[in-house]
């Protein structure tokens, strides 16, 4: 015990020696609480400046008719008028519907494919490391790059995608336009997002699968549980918290989806792929309806925040089961 104490003393003495005198004396005069504040202070200031202040400012602007491109025109307080206009604007509801459909389809496809891929990779077949790396490649690319090269893949005259579909179905490649057709364009963006982000779901599910101890399966086999029963009674419940977490992250990201879709379709043809974030950007920074777009942003924020809170509660309930 005495030996341990002297060792600690030696380490403390070395640390004190290494600390510059001026700093040491200053720190010595501070309480632990003050030092703690010293460390977290800059972060709090940054958070206040970058997150909290803009949020409060946006709330304020949402009650005015302010336009950021009219610096000479004073902003007038107009109460809830912006909120009323946003909520009664059929174009806004259209973009919310487009966003909801995009969100539902991308999440459904990515969960199914991500889980399937993780389950296959978890089988530890020969070369699984190589295939894991290959599968992860799309999510390492920039969304702008992905959007750009998929516009070429979807090109009806030279695009590889159209030729692949033509090869399997016999439909002439120039006879359909993935990003120019109102019926196909929503699917075009779902396909690209799924291609890019399924590996993310796969990775998190894979972590979940690998965290399940083998002895649970061994015990199930001793009890003569079928593979199907093992899957539903062991694999799914134990992976579910991981999967739900992945879905939460992806859903929040896809609710804000902007760059990929702008590169692919710019929200077109017409407005069939105009997601809420694209509409918001147009209102805020192209039309310069700052007050109106602030109200829209607040509504989107409350929606995401509310949905995420409910979801997190469900996630905690699943974890506690």
């Amino acid at each position: 015990m005495a030996e341990t104490t002297s060792q600690i003393d030696r380490i403390a003495a070395r640390a004190a020696k290494a600390t510059p005198v001026a700093v040491a004396s200053r720190v010595r005069g501070l309480s632990d609480k003050a030092i703690a504040w010293l460390f977290i202070g800059p972060t709090i200031v940054l958070l206040l400046a970058i997150n909290i202040f803009p949020l409060i400012w946006t709330v304020y602007l949402s009650f005015t008719d302010y336009k950021a491109n009219r610096l000479t025109r004073p902003a007038e307080f107009i109460g809830l008028r912006n909120y009323e206009r946003v909520l009664t604007d059929s174009d806004i509801w259209h973009t919310l519907q487009v966003t909801a459909r995009f969100l539902c389809w991308t999440m459904a496809l990515q969960v199914i494919l991500g889980f399937g891929l993780a389950w296959l990779i978890n089988k530890q077949f020969k070369g699984h490391g190589f295939w894991t790396t290959v599968i992860l490649l799309p999510m390492m690319l920039s969304p702008a790059v992905v959007g750009n090269f998929w516009t070429f893949l979807y090109q009806p005259q030279i695009g590889l995608f159209n030729y692949a579909i033509s090869f399997f179905t016999g439909i002439p490649p120039s006879s359909f336009q993935m990003i120019g057709d109102v019926n196909l364009a929503p699917w075009a963006i779902v396909i690209v997002d799924t291609w890019m982000w399924t590996p993310y779901i796969m990775l998190i599910v894979l972590a979940g699968l690998r965290s399940i101890p083998d002895y649970i399966y061994e015990a199930a086999e001793v009890d003569r549980a079928s593979q199907w029963r093992q899957f539903w009674s062991i694999t799914v419940p134990m992976v579910l918290p991981f999967l739900m977490l992945a879905v939460l992250f992806r859903a929040i990201e896809n609710f804000k989806m902007f760059d990929l879709v702008v590169e692919l379709t710019s929200g077109g043809p017409g407005s069939v792929t105009e997601l809420a974030s694209i509409n918001l950007k147009r209102e805020a920074f192209e039309k310069w309806r700052t007050g109106y777009s602030s109200a829209f942003a607040i509504i989107l924020f409350v929606t995401v925040f509310g949905a995420a809170s409910i979801y997190v509660k469900a996630l905690n309930a699943v974890k506690q089961r």
């Binding site: 009219r70 000479t72 009806p156 929200g267 077109g268 043809p269 017409g270 407005s271 192209e286 309806r289």
Partner: protein, 443 residues
Amino acid sequence: MTKFMNYALGAAAAAAIAGGALGPGKAQAEDITLCWAAWDPANALVELSKEFEAEYGHNMKFEFVPWPNFADRMLNELNSGGKLCDLLIGDSQWIGGGAENGHYVKLNDFFDQEGISMDDFAPATVYAYSTWPKGTPNYYALPAMGDANGWFYRKDWFSKPELQAEFKEKHGRDLAPPKTWTEMKEVAEFFQGREIDGKTVYGVSIFTERGSEGITMGATSALYPYNFKYEMTPGKYDMEGAVNSPDAVAGLEAYKDLYKCCTPPGYTDSYMQESLDAFKSGQVAMAMNWFAFFPGLYKDPEVGGDKIGFFVNPGQLSEASTLGGQGISVVAYSDKKDEALKYIKWFAQPDVQKKWWSLGGYSCHVAVLDDPSFPDSQPFAADFLLAMGGVKDFWQEPAYAELLLAMQKRLHDYVVADQGTAKEALDKLIEDWTEVFEDEGKL
């Protein structure tokens, strides 16, 4: 000797420094930054500006932004009071916002002081690029680059005897550049899907871009000849019956018909560059684009020279073209306004304007346009004069961006996404624009 050499070198160095300080001012002259879009005429302006640099000693810097981002980038710069640009060659539609929001310096006093007369510039360009409120003698820009939406075609294909014969048999007239939008569709349909030189070709490339201004600039080229108007009474914002008149509806339907029948596959989000690409790659018989690109096209080794022809926007009920082009303004936030004004003074000179045209820029100066040799100076020069004689422009209101984006949406919804009718699209456009003008306090 060594001491003498030291003195001599010292004296030489002092003389060099003094010479630099007391010379024509080249060393101290401030850099001026000129902002514009990144396109062919911008390169011509760089070349032209070398003379200004040599004459005045200022070093010119250029900030050229690709067209799809030009408005976003530059309007953000102006709205934030940025000092990046001393001179800005901004779109004609920005003049209202530039003037009312205090982004541009009013140039009347400067013009008076320097003897620059707006009578020396084509009236249509002065009206469109310089004045705010429209048509009043309040100048915020000097007309810099005249432009309009025009057309070019594959002259070599049009002159093929077998195609000439087939077209004449079908339509009873020669295969020639169309003079009306009805003829335009007939010619485009004639080429659509045809095999020429072993390659499938298409009728026409037109503007369908959704994000910035493309489809509006394209569709108005059909709407204006169909007598589309923005207001019944100028300045009253009474749009009902003007924007959605039966003729305007027919014009929009004509544009959609042309898009549906005769464009290459996948041509759903195309603007200047896509139109040029379609033509240069030998895909289309005719293409729409700004006159600014015509000098470059004529010089193109693949499709230029004898292979290319040019024509003015076809008429229908009247002759009209969509206005492009820009004026050059001094940015109010610049710290180098005096230097920027020097550039404008230099640029307004007739000799400089003549050189501007010879390099590929479209001068608006009457010394250039009224020169008897002008129509024959380039194969597209006569058409340019014709076009500029009947140009019409979009709203130039301070709220132009809101007005433009509303039109982009309504037109793309109807033409490309096939939603609703032309009448419904124009009715909705009136609703959108009414809301904007109500917000502006103008209705």
